[in-house]
């Protein structure tokens, strides 16, 4: 670590002001990504602005057919919230598969989405559900938000405040976890919302992406067999020491089918 100043603002305005005043300041939420980055000296912020306790960034509620979750809501809260489990069980299930208890007890929705790790779970839900990412300045549609590995539409000094998820008719997430971290080696989120099917894939490519072929096939026929008939081209997919691109291509199909089976076999149309 390099030296930095730690600041704990009392309000969102103050946090935004601090970020505006210091070029090299960074927001600190759960710290589950940022602190290891600092420890490895991969970042050298002048200030850490701790936003984890800001009331403006907290809370879970359902209004007008949307589930709205504050950016500083911890994974464990999403996983166990009765509101989420009732309104969007697939999202609660997704949150319960993130990392390990320590990570879930500190890591937050906003931190995860802002960070946009190519293997993170939440981005798949945000994209497949067509959610809206709210900041103190504007509202950003999921399709515009994710822009590749660790890259998003967020600008300097901009803070995610909450995310609004339209409630799907049916949805499920299936993931093959990295054996050590729990991150998605590949994860597939399938959602049908307002009569439209969206399929988002994380872990397999350079950043979360929509799997258009799967969406089209499922629009034709909402069944696992539609997925099994697809051919996935591994070129452009991620390869690392744990799995070559072909393995991830295979996982996309396996996991999408599992998500569908979970949806179709479950009376609530819920989770994988």
């Amino acid at each position: 670590m390099y030296e930095f100043s730690y600041v704990k603002p009392a309000s969102l305005d103050e946090a935004a002001q601090l970020l505006a005043n210091h070029d090299d300041a960074k927001p600190l939420s759960g710290g589950m990504t940022l602190i290891p980055t600092l420890k490895q000296r991969l970042a050298q912020p002048s200030h850490l602005i701790d936003i984890a306790a800001l009331t403006e960034l907290r809370g879970i509620e359902v209004t007008a057919g949307q589930l709205i979750i504050g950016a500083a809501t911890r994974h464990i809260e999403v996983a166990t919230s009765m509101t989420v489990r009732t309104a969007l069980p697939a999202l609660a299930a997704l949150a319960s598969t993130i990392g390990d208890p320590q990570v879930r007890n500190r890591g937050t929705l906003g931190g995860s989405v802002a960070n946009n790790d190519p293997n993170a779970d939440y981005p798949a839900a945000v994209l497949a559900l067509g959610a809206t990412v709210h900041t103190q300045r504007r509202a950003i549609a999921a399709d515009d938000f994710f822009q590749g590995v660790f890259t998003t539409a967020i600008e300097e000094g901009e803070l995610i405040t909450r995310i609004a998820f339209p409630l799907p008719t049916r949805a499920a997430y299936a993931k093959f976890p990295h054996p050590a971290s729990g991150f998605a080696m590949t994860g597939v989120f399938v959602a049908e919302t307002g009569g439209r099917v969206r399929v988002a894939v994380t872990g397999a490519g350079p950043g979360v992406f929509r799997w258009r072929e799967a969406e089209a096939a499922l629009a034709d026929r909402f069944a696992a067999e539609s997925i099994e008939a697809l051919v996935v081209d591994p070129s452009g997919l991620n390869a690392d020491i744990h799995a070559p691109a072909e393995y991830r291509a295979n996982l996309m199909k396996v996991l999408a089918s599992r998500a569908l089976r979970a949806i179709l076999n479950s009376s609530e149309g819920a989770v994988a």
């Binding site: 093959f176 990295h178 054996p179 050590a180 020491i241 744990h242 799995a243 393995y247 295979n250 996982l251």
Partner: protein, 789 residues
């Protein structure tokens, strides 16, 4: 030497489950590991390590590093030269069979031969400052050709791993007996297979570390090291640094696991002590995990080509083959891993003729030395896979083929025409291998498995059953030391050259002592691995400590007991036969309370000026013993397991795991079980997860635990441990080693089960580590083969 009395057939304390005496302090966070030793004003070390697998060092510039605030010194090999007796490390466990120029350099001089090799040492006020300054050291390299596969390294035209080598083949030999070629020439059936096996790292929770503190008041340099062998480290430090033995003390504090990685003196340890001597100040180096991955030994790859000749009923007629062993860049400590593999292939089986050709080959990767199991797991894997192949080829049951070849109890002791390192014959001393197999198969309900498998298959699930045996020689000699002393306070002290590193050794030794002295475990203190307390000692390795140190403590405790009885008999005016040791006293048997405390006897045996010793005994209620043995006792195990393989993702889930272990008499079933659990978890890692990977340029690819995968609790089934006790006739306690015997059968048992699960696809598994990706590619390969057929 008078014969040692064996443990009584009905011991009072030995064999009962006992809580570990180590735990109260460890659980309260009071354990003191090397980094916890108070080190005020100590300087800390960071090393600049080679980023390349093979290169010449063409320029080193230390100017900026030396000028960095808080830096006390920056050393190269040239700076340490004046106080080193030799620029290379002394041999670990010296042998005449190896050339002098095979050990690592203390610091590299002008050539580096693996990533992680230390070149420059920075000593500073803190580790953070030392790391910053290390980043300022400028080194220019000129790349040299890299050899990263031992199979190509042994080709005559291969580039050399180090310029000083004329060949990368360090050793080439045969281990053999009988006339194997004749046996094969006339054999009805011959099976041939190729195996690859990887074993990875020791991965102790606590990395290595050393703290050296010169003390001007006593002129003694005290060294705390997280080591498995204080006395050997003492020898190497005094040899490398020309230290008079009276000015050096090595202490192993709490050690957070060893598993072989700390069974060696390392160059970074010698360099740290050298720095303390040069600066006359306390100096500490604590290895971080990244250093551990490249700077601490591995036990990586072996490539086997093996053939088995059998008759029509599956009786083994002969085994022969060839094995290439990746030895890494240097030889820090002997070459026993390959020899252990080669001399143990035939395991628990009767094999009339045998020949294995062995190549021990250098590569530009981290040096290889024993990790828990030390070459034996690879041999067990190769042989057990062969047994499965024979069963498949002859259409016989896997268990039946084994039964036909296992050494029966009636033939024990069964001597094989092979020798261990000490030149002692390989003799299976005791055990009932067939009974262990029977117990394992009953426990896993082998009889009901076919129905379970069919039911699973009907649901599209693939389950398989695996079975494997092993024998493991345990109790490596030549000796271990123990002093047992009853203090005038009444507390009993045990001092030993053995080394406690988390296994519960202290509890085990205390139990052996308590058995003879009739004292509570809580009144016994065990001091292990301090060279100022025992002049000699060997340390912790090769599943030896309960056998060697346990027997030493037994012998010494018996002697203390005799002495206590003799003095008490004199003082109480009673015949020694009428006395017993109980509750810390010697008393007239059956008359509790009437007697004399051991503490009292200890006080009397300190002597009073001018008075003679009571009972005419020698001074001190204590005894000193060196237990010697060259012949090893053979522990054995039979494991059976059930797995489920996901044919869509290649994942393996272990459904049940049964371990039948015979480690002779158990001193403490609780710690014995712990050893078995740990051994199995290590074996699961070797089979499914642990893989220390390098690219063709010798760059390590797995230097964090996100990339080098360890088995964690979530992957584990309930492990069911069943002990079968065949006391060894070779030591007074009847014990055999445990820690490694549980690792050996794991890879062959799991792989056997995985292959069984994938039976419907005709998949053959000959390699471990076996990742989900490799399972899928095996399935794909089998499908392609089937399509072509």
């Amino acid at each position: 030497m008078k014969p040692v009395a064996n443990l009584s057939p009905e011991p009072r304390v030995v064999g009962k489950r006992a809580r570990r005496i180590e735990d109260p302090s460890l659980l309260r966070g009071q354990g003191r590991y090397v980094d916890d030793v108070p080190a005020e004003h100590a300087l800390e070390v960071a090393f600049v390590r080679s980023p390349l697998a093979h290169a010449l060092i063409t320029r080193v510039d230390l100017t900026a590093a030396r000028a960095h605030p808080g830096v006390a010194a920056v050393y190269t090999a040239a700076d340490l030269a004046p106080i080193l007796t030799h620029p290379r490390m002394p041999f670990g466990f010296p042998t005449d069979a190896l050339p002098r120029n095979t050990t690592p350099w203390v610091l590299a001089i002008d050539e580096v031969a693996h990533v992680g090799e230390p070149i420059v040492m920075v000593v500073a006020d803190t580790r953070a400052i030392a790391e910053d300054a290390a980043g300022l050291v400028e080194i220019d390299y000129e790349s040299l050709p890299v050899v990263s596969d031992p199979r190509t390294a042994l080709q005559p035209d291969s580039p050399r791993v180090r310029r000083e080598l004329s060949s990368n083949v360090l050793q080439h030999y045969h281990v053999n007996y009988g006339d194997v070629n004749a046996a094969f020439a006339s054999a009805p059936r011959v099976f041939t297979e190729h195996f690859w096996q990887h074993r990875g790292l020791a991965s102790s929770i606590e990395c290595r570390g050393l703290f050296a503190r010169p003390d001007p008041a006593t002129n003694v340099l005290t060294v705390w090291s997280s080591t498995q062998m204080s006395h050997e480290l003492f020898r190497i430090l005094s040899e490398a640094l020309a230290l008079d033995e009276n000015t050096l003390r090595v202490i192993a504090p709490e050690v957070g696991g060893g598993f072989g990685g700390k069974f060696m003196a390392y160059c970074d340890e010698v360099a740290t002590v050298a720095a303390a001597m040069l600066l006359g100040r306390p100096v500490k180096w604590v290895e971080d995990r990244r250093e551990h991955f490249v700077g601490t030994i591995h036990e990586r790859d072996q490539f086997w080509a093996l053939e088995a000749a059998v008759d029509a009923e599956g009786h083994l007629l002969g085994v022969r083959g060839r094995m290439v062993h990746d030895h890494g860049a240097y030889t820090p400590q002997a070459t026993n891993v390959a020899y252990n593999s080669a001399s143990s292939v035939t395991g628990p089986y009767m094999v009339p003729h045998y020949d294995l050709e062995v190549f021990v080959v250098h590569t530009n990767m981290t040096p290889v030395a024993p990790v828990r199991g030390a070459g034996y797991p690879q041999a067990a894997f190769a042989m057990e896979r062969m047994m499965d192949r024979i069963a498949q080829g002859l259409g016989l049951d896997r268990a039946e083929v084994r039964l036909r070849n296992l050494v029966p109890t009636a033939k024990m002791p069964y001597t094989k025409p092979l020798k261990n390192r000490a030149g002692a014959p390989v003799t299976l001393d005791s055990g009932d291998y067939a009974a262990c197999q029977d117990i394992a198969l009953k426990a896993i309900d082998r009889a009901g498995f076919a129905a379970r498998q069919a039911a699973a298959l009907a649901q599209g699930r693939y389950i398989g059953l695996g079975l494997a045996h092993c024998v493991k020689p345990t109790g490596r000699g030549p000796y271990e030391t123990a002093v047992v002393r009853v203090q005038p306070s009444g507390r009993v002290s045990i001092y030993t050259g053995a080394l406690a590193m988390g296994q519960g050794l202290k509890t085990t030794l205390a139990i052996v002592c308590a058995e003879q002295l009739g004292v509570d475990l809580d009144s016994i203190d065990v001091m292990a691995g301090d060279t100022s307390l025992n002049a000699l000692g060997m340390g912790g390795f090769a599943s030896r400590q309960t056998i060697m140190a346990g027997s030493a403590v037994h012998v010494a405790s018996l002697e203390v007991r005799e002495k206590a009885l003799k003095v008490a008999s004199h003082l109480l005016e009673a015949a020694a036969e009428d006395l017993e040791l109980r509750d810390g006293r010697v008393q007239i048997a059956g008359v509790p309370g009437k007697g004399i405390k051991l503490a009292e006897i200890a006080r009397k045996l300190r002597g009073s000026p001018g008075y003679s010793m009571p009972g005419g005994v020698s001074p001190g209620l204590e005894a000193d013993s060196m237990y010697q043995a060259d012949i090893q006792c053979y522990a054995n195990a039979c494991h059976a397991c059930e797995v489920e393989v996901d044919i869509h993702t290649g994942e393996t889930r272990i459904l049940r795991y049964i371990a039948v272990q015979d480690s002779g008499r158990l001193v403490n079933p609780a710690t014995a079980e712990g050893q078995v659990h740990g051994g199995i978890v290590h074996g699961i890692g070797n089979t499914l997860f642990e893989w220390m990977r390098f690219d063709e340029e010798g760059q390590p690819l797995t230097t964090t635990f996100a990339d080098y995968l360890l088995t964690t609790a979530t992957e584990l089934p309930m492990i069911e441990v069943i002990f079968h006790e065949s006391p060894s006739p070779l030591n007074p306690l009847g014990v055999k080693g445990i820690g490694e015997a549980a690792t050996l059968p794991v890879a062959p048992a799991l792989v056997s089960a995985i292959e069984d699960a994938l039976g419907p696809f005709g998949v053959k598994v000959n390699d471990a580590t076996l990742s989900p990706v490799s399972v899928l590619s095996l399935l794909r390969g089998a499908a392609q083969a089937a399509a072509q057929a």
